[in-house]
């Protein structure tokens, strides 16, 4: 049997969400222990003669039995979820009550509740994302740290700060609450950041990054499938993720080299994801609100629709970047806009736009800032200046893939190769 890498993490997250509902948010650590023990036992057993076909049901049953056991042993020592209190005290009502909590539909809602709970407004976005990765994707502290190139102790701090606040808040977020919509937009943001970390992030490992993208997509899929959270904005976010993820197979070539949008082999783009992404994009258009996700999805959609890099409608894309700068200005958006200007109006105009970026100070550690400068200078024929920018970018590069990408650019700045470049697009 072939098991996808994320499968067991997904099961773990599902069980954790339901056990947390059963035990109450204040007993999150207890729920985590039960999940850990359930999975550890299963993996030990399956290490010998393989994973049985109905593994998911077996895991659910094992977790359920452990939960019943915990209630029996600790019903006087701990306070559990209030709606369960009565059932716990009565022996004959206990098993059916726990049974009902583990029905498939309930399981799905629990994950949504957990997702909304993690995006508590009093937590910073970095904490929210760390919690989502830890509690809804079952990543360990070190795994999260390696994805973000942050020290494990920093991640540990974020997670424990988050958990402390959640356990004080007492309960999982109820999906019928009045502040559902504002909370939904915090969820969108966290999932967007999670996906971006997978696509543009620091980790050198393609596996890690693919996992982050897939996890973000799995969680967005839950939002899409739940009617109240399936808003036009949710569809916009889904469209963005699906359309961009469709390019993942072409992003790193067989030799492990990073390929940017212009040099990717577009025949390797995932047709199915593209199709689904386009359908999400259509459904995102039903509201009267335009969010950054809509705009970014529209840009991704234009790249997808262009059969080849040369056919990209740069004027339209530039207009979308202008809109994006109005809704959610950031130096990274401004940098991407400058690239679009360079494509549309030439590298000199592009350079002007890069130099006009207002808070470029925030880009001083971002390797693609000097990389874009280098690319545009090179196209203006300023080889020496270009080389210096690429060397700076190389110094800032966060992983081997980026370094190799920039090695090639520095190589391009040696005089003998420049005249050979016929098509002066940013590669």
């Amino acid at each position: 049997m072939k098991l996808d890498g994320g499968f067991f993490r997904q099961e773990a997250a599902r069980l954790l969400a339901t056990l947390t509902r059963a035990f109450g948010m204040a007993n999150l650590a207890l729920a985590e222990d039960v999940v850990q023990e359930t999975l550890a036992d299963a993996f030990e057993t399956w290490s010998y003669q393989g994973v049985p076909p109905h593994y998911a049901a077996l895991l659910t049953t094992a977790a359920k039995n452990r939960a019943i056991d915990v209630f029996r042993r600790q019903r006087t020592a701990r306070r559990f979820a209030p709606e369960l209190q009565w059932h716990i005290e009565s022996e004959w009502a206990l098993a059916p009550a726990v049974e009902a909590m583990f029905l498939p539909d309930a399981l799905k809602d629990d994950e949504l509740r957990m997702m909304f709970t993690c995006c508590h407004p009093r937590l910073g976005e970095d904490v929210q994302v760390a919690l989502v990765l830890h509690l809804l994707c079952a990543f360990g502290v070190e795994e999260i740290a390696s994805a973000f190139l942050v020290s494990p102790s920093a991640i540990e701090k974020r997670i424990s700060r988050g958990k402390k606040l959640l356990s004080e808040s007492g309960q999982l977020f109820e999906l019928t609450r009045a502040d559902f919509l504002p909370r939904l937009s915090a969820v969108h943001r966290a999932l967007y950041l999670l996906f971006n970390e997978g696509y543009h992030g620091a980790s050198a490992l393609a596996v890690v990054r693919g996992d982050l993208c897939r996890d973000a997509m799995r969680l967005v899929r839950l939002l899409v499938d739940h009617q109240p959270s399936a808003t036009p904005t949710t569809y916009g976010l889904a469209a963005l993720m699906w359309l961009v993820a469709a390019r993942l197979p072409a992003r790193i070539d067989q030799a492990g080299n990073l390929k940017d949008l212009f040099e990717q082999d577009r025949s390797m783009w995932d047709e199915q994801l593209l199709g689904e992404g386009m359908r999400f994009l259509e459904r995102s258009a039903s509201g009267d609100m335009i969010t950054e996700y809509h705009v970014e999805a529209a840009i991704a959609g234009m790249h997808s629709a262009a059969g080849e890099a040369r056919a990209t409608p740069w004027a339209d894309i530039l207009e979308l970047y202008d809109v994006l700068m109005k809704i959610r200005p950031s130096p990274v958006v401004a940098l991407n806009r400058a690239v679009a200007i360079a494509q549309h109006q030439g590298p000199a105009k592009g350079l002007e736009a890069v130099r006009a970026i207002e808070d470029a100070g925030r880009l001083t550690t971002y390797p693609f800032y000097p990389a874009v400068l280098g690319e545009l200078e090179l196209r203006c024929g300023h080889v020496e200046v270009a080389r210096k920018h690429f060397q700076e970018a190389h110094r800032l590069a966060r992983n081997q893939g980026e370094r190799r990408f920039l090695d090639n650019r520095i190589e391009d700045c040696t005089p003998k190769t420049v005249p050979g470049r016929q098509d002066p697009v940013r590669r």
Binding site: F8, L39, W46, S47, Y48, Q49, V51, A138, F139, G140
Partner: protein, 114 residues
Amino acid sequence: MSEFVFLYRRPAKDRTVQQMQESMQKWQAWFKTMEQSGHLANYGQPLDTKGGRVVKDKQGGYTDGPYAETKDIVVGYSVIKAKDYDEAVALTHGHPIFDQDGMVEIRPLFKMEA
């Protein structure tokens, strides 16, 4: 051919889901090579490491243990066929337990000469 019991020993340690899954897949792969090369007599079983009792006298007096904190707790066993110790040792090559700070204790089963 002689038969050897492989006793798997390793310290108990919390692992992430991903690590547990990867370890599981490596164990399965190792068993598969044993099976395909005709060395597997019996898969054996994993042992629950969370508890246990050591009975010390005929009145049933016991102590709890081995404790999970104990290093090199026996976490399972298999029965492997090999010509001699050298081959048995060679068969442990690539066993994932070594990635988990563990070890394999090889003990021959008695064989009555016919």
